[in-house]
C-alpha cells in the first residue's frame, strides 16, 4: 500500500505543479494587458465626461477628503494656466437595486462636462436606460445655478424616462451632491498646490 500512496501523492503533486507553472506563465502574459484594459476603462470614462480634454489617470489626480470622511480621487486635466476640468466618481446609493457608480466631469466654472454610468444593477430595460446617451446627454452644460437638478416628477428640470423614476432620480441626486461638493471645495480641488491636511 505504501508504494500506492506514494504514487497518488506523486501524480497529484505533478499535476498541481504543471498547473501552477502554466498558470504563472499565463498570468505573466496577461498581467500587462489586464492593467492596460483597466486603465483604458478609466480613460474612456474620463473622455466621455470631459470631452476634448486629456488626462493621464496614473499621474493627474489628487485624493481629497469627501463629504462623509471618505476619499475622493479627483482626476484633473491641466494646461499651462491651471486646471481646465476635473472628474470624479460619485455613488448613488438609492437606486432600485444596489449602488449606481457615476463618473462626472466638472469644468472650473461649475458646469457639468458630462456624466457616465460606470456600473449599476438596475432592472434591465426599465431602469437601465440611464446608460443611454440621450439621457446622459441632458446633463452636459448643467450647473447648480442654471438647472434645478431634480427629475421633472419632483418639480426639477431633468427629464425622467417613462415609468422608471427611481433610477434617474438616484443618478440626478448623486450628481447634484457631487456638484455641491465641488462648489464647497472648489479652491481645494483646483489649487495648484497640494493642500495640507
Amino acid at each position: 500500500m505504501k508504494g500506492g500512496m506514494a504514487r497518488l501523492i506523486l501524480v497529484l503533486g505533478a499535476i498541481c505543479f504543471a498547473s501552477g507553472f502554466g498558470l504563472a506563465m499565463v498570468y505573466e502574459i496577461t498581467k500587462e494587458p489586464i492593467a492596460y484594459q483597466k486603465k483604458l476603462e478609466v480613460i474612456r470614462s474620463l473622455a466621455a465626461v470631459l470631452p476634448g480634454l486629456e488626462i493621464d489617470p496614473d499621474s493627474q489626480y489628487r485624493d481629497l477628503a469627501g463629504k462623509d470622511g471618505d476619499t475622493v480621487r479627483v482626476f484633473r486635466s491641466e494646461d499651462g494656466d491651471g486646471v481646465v476640468g476635473v472628474a470624479f466618481q460619485v455613488i448613488a446609493p438609492d437606486g432600485y437595486s444596489g449602488n449606481i457608480y457615476i463618473m462626472m466631469g466638472v469644468l472650473p466654472d461649475g458646469t457639468l462636462g458630462g456624466i457616465e454610468i460606470l456600473s449599476h444593477a438596475e432592472t434591465p430595460g426599465l431602469g437601465a436606460p440611464i446608460t443611454e446617451e440621450r439621457w446622459k446627454g441632458i446633463f452636459k452644460g448643467r450647473s447648480l445655478e442654471n438647472t434645478d437638478l431634480r427629475v421633472k416628477k419632483d418639480g426639477g428640470d431633468i427629464d425622467q424616462m417613462t415609468g422608471a423614476t427611481i433610477s434617474p432620480r438616484a443618478v440626478t441626486g448623486a450628481v447634484k451632491k457631487g456638484l455641491e461638493w465641488f462648489r464647497d471645495n472648489r479652491d481645494n480641488i483646483l489649487s495648484a498646490e497640494e493642500a495640507s491636511s
Binding site: 438609492d94 426599465l126 415609468g163 422608471a164
Partner: protein
Amino acid sequence: MTNTVLSPAPHLRTTKTIETAMYSVILALLPGAAVGMYFFGLNAIRVIALSIVLCVAFEALALRIRGRGMEPLKDGSAVLTGLLLAMNLPSNSPAWLILIGCVVAILMTKHVYGGLGYNSFNPALVARVFLLISFPVVMTSWPEPKSFTLSLDTVTKATPLGDMKMSLLLNGNLGDIANMSLMDPFIGRLGGSLGEISALALLAGGIFLIARGIITWHIPVTYITTVFVMTWIYWLLDPVKYASPVFHMVTGGLMLGAIFMATDYVTSPITPKGMIVFGVGCGAITVFIRLFGGYPEGVSFAILLMNAATPLIDRYTQPRVFGYPTRKEAKA
C-alpha cells in the same frame, strides 16, 4: 355505455357542481365589475369582454390540442379566469396585453399542468404578475376614475398605495394620503385595476358567496384580519410612516384577492385549519411587501407564494382518518 363518465372520488352526490360554484363566483364578482364599468366607462367593458372571449378561446384551443373534448368548456372556469384577469388589469389595457395575459393564464398556468384542478397557481394571478413584471409601465398607468362616460380618453393617476410608497421614498412620510378621505376608495373612486377599486362591492360579493356556502369564511376573514392587525400595530408605532389599517383595507387589491383569488378551490388548502394558516400567511406577506418591499402592492405575490406552500400546508393539517389513532395516541 359510451356515456359513462369516469371521475375520481368523492362519489357522494351533492347538488353543488363545479358549474354552480364557478357561476356563483362570477355572479359575486359582478358588483365589483359594475363599479369598474361605471368609473372607467366603455374601456372597462372592452377589457372585460376581450379577456373573457380570449380566455374561453384559448381554453377551447388547449382542450383541442390535448384531445380532451369540449366538455370542460361548460364548467365556466375559463370565463371566471377571464373575468378575474380583466379585473386585475388597468382599464386602459391594450388588446395585446390582454392577449398575452390570457395565453399565460390558460395555456402556461392551467393546461401545461393538466387543466382545471391540476394547476398549483391561480391562473389569473400568474398572468397578472407576469404582465406586471414584463410591462411595468403599461401595468401601472392607471386611468383616473370618473363617472360613466363613453369617451375612451383617460388621464392616468397613481394608486394610493403607489403614492404612499413614492412619498415615503421622497419625503419619508405618508404625504397627501394621510389626510385622504377613506370613503372614496370604499365606494371605488380611486386609481387602480379595473375590478379592485370598490371594497364595498367586493365585500357584498364575498358575503353572498359565504352565505351560499360556495366559499367558507376562513381564508378571507383570517387574511383581512391579519392585514388589519399588522398594519394597526405599525400604525400605532409610527403614524407618520405607516398608514392606518383602514387605509390598507380599502385600497389596492386586498378585497379582490382575499375574497376571490385566495379562496380558489384548486390552489388553496382543503381543511379549515389549513385555510387559516393560508390566510394568515397571505396577510403577513402582503403587509411585509406593502410596508417594506419594492412594489407598492403585495396581494398577488402573497397569494402566489402561499399557493406554492399549499401542498405543504395540506400535508400538515390533514384531518385524522376515521378509525386510525392520532400520532400522539399511536406513540402512547
